[in-house]
C-alpha cells in the first residue's frame, strides 16, 4: 500500500476517486468505521497489555485495512507501525505506538463525524 508522506491524514478526494464518487457507499463505510472502531481499539489495547503478539498483529492489520478503505493515511500509518512492531517481536515501543494509534483514530473519528454531517 502506498501511504502518502504528506501531512494529509485523511483524503476524502482519494476515497471518492477510488469509489467512483459513490457518496452512499462512502457514508456506509464511515458509519461502519464509527460503529466498529471502539471495539477494535479495545481489542488492540488488550493485546498490547497482554503482549499477545498474534492478536496484536491481526487486530492492527484489521484497523489498517479499515482505515485504508477510508483513505485515512494517519491511522493506516500508525496501525502499520504497530503491526510491524508485533511482527518484529513487539519491543518496548509497542505502548508508544498504541498511544499514537489512539490519537490518530480519535482525530479520524472527529473528521468522519464532521464529513458525515455534510454528505
Amino acid at each position: 500500500m502506498n501511504i502518502p508522506s504528506s501531512a494529509v491524514r485523511m483524503d476524502i478526494n482519494d476515497m471518492r476517486r477510488r469509489l467512483g464518487d459513490d457518496e452512499a457507499l462512502i457514508a456506509v463505510l464511515f458509519r461502519q468505521f464509527l460503529k466498529d472502531y471502539a471495539a477494535r481499539l479495545e481489542s488492540i489495547k488488550s493485546a498490547v497489555n497482554g503482549r499477545r503478539l498474534d492478536d496484536l498483529r491481526r487486530e492492527a492489520h484489521m484497523m489498517k485495512g479499515n482505515a485504508s478503505n477510508l483513505s485515512a493515511f494517519g491511522v493506516v500509518e500508525a496501525a502499520a507501525a504497530l503491526e510491524d512492531s508485533a511482527d518484529r517481536g513487539g519491543g518496548a515501543d509497542v505502548d508508544r505506538l498504541f498511544a499514537k494509534l489512539v490519537v490518530e483514530v480519535e482525530q479520524l473519528v472527529t473528521e468522519l463525524r464532521g464529513l458525515l454531517g455534510r454528505l
Binding site: R18, G20, S68
Partner: protein, 210 residues
C-alpha cells in the same frame, strides 16, 4: 455469474459487494477461509472468487492451493486481495494458484476491470470445453477405416472379419461413411463395347439375334 467474496474485513467486503452487485453479479460472501473452502467445494459453487490474503482459519493463498489441488481441471478464476504489494508477495500469491491479484484498498474501476477479465477467461474456457466435448462426440461417431485389409489380387474383393469375401464397394460402405454411385469408366466402357461387339458378331454368325 456467481462470485464469492471471502474477507473477514466487513468494510472491504462491503466495498466489493456494493461494487459488484449492481453489475449483475450474484455475490456470495464468506468471513473466513474455511467458509470460503466449504462454498467452493459445493457442486454449484461460484466459478470466480475474490479471496482476502489474511483470513481466520485458512488464509487466501492456502484456499487457492487447496482448491487447485482438489480439482486441477476445474474452471475457476481466483483473485487474491490484500494490502501486501511487495513483488515477492505477488509471486507467492500467483504461485499458490491465484489467477490475479488486487491490492487493497480497492479501486472500483480496477476491481470491475479485473473481474471482467476473469469473467471473459471463464467464458472462453467454458466455450472451449464445450467445443472439445462436441469434437470428442463427433470423433466417437466417425467410422474409422484403418489397418491391414486382405484383398484378392484378381477380383479385388476384401475378406471381412467373418471370413467372407466382399465386393470392395460394399465393404467400404459398411466400414466408413462413404457412399457410392455406380458408373463405367471410359477404359472399361471401351473394353465392354469391344466385348459386346464381339459377342453380337459371334451370335449373328450363328443366326442368333440379340
Amino acid at each position: 455469474m456467481q462470485i464469492l467474496i471471502a474477507d473477514d474485513d466487513r468494510m472491504s467486503a462491503e466495498v466489493l459487494v456494493r461494487t459488484l452487485t449492481p453489475e449483475m453479479f450474484e455475490v456470495t460472501t464468506a468471513s473466513d477461509g474455511a467458509e470460503a473452502l466449504e462454498i467452493l467445494r459445493r457442486p454449484d459453487s461460484p466459478s470466480l472468487a475474490i479471496l482476502d490474503w489474511m483470513m481466520p482459519k485458512v488464509d487466501g493463498p492456502d484456499v487457492c492451493r487447496l482448491i487447485r489441488s482438489e480439482a486441477p481441471g476445474a474452471h475457476r478464476y481466483l483473485i487474491l486481495l490484500t494490502s501486501r504489494d511487495a513483488r515477492e508477495d505477488v509471486v507467492a500469491g500467483l504461485q499458490a494458484g491465484a489467477d490475479d491479484y488486487l491490492v487493497k484498498p480497492c479501486h472500483k474501476g480496477e476491481l470491475l476491470a479485473r473481474v471482467s477479465v476473469g469473467a471473459r477467461v471463464l467464458e472462453l474456457q467454458k466455450g472451449l470445453a464445450a467445443r472439445v466435448e462436441e469434437l470428442q462426440l463427433a470423433l466417437s461417431q466417425v467410422k474409422q477405416l484403418s489397418g491391414l485389409l486382405p484383398i484378392c489380387s484378381y477380383c479385388k474383393c476384401i475378406r471381412s472379419d467373418e471370413n467372407y469375401w466382399q465386393q470392395v464397394d460394399g465393404y467400404l460402405m459398411e466400414h466408413s461413411d462413404a457412399k457410392f454411385t455406380h458408373g463405367i469408366c471410359p477404359a472399361c466402357y471401351a473394353t465392354l463395347s469391344r466385348e459386346l461387339d464381339e459377342y453380337s458378331k459371334n451370335n449373328s454368325t450363328r443366326g442368333v439375334s440379340i
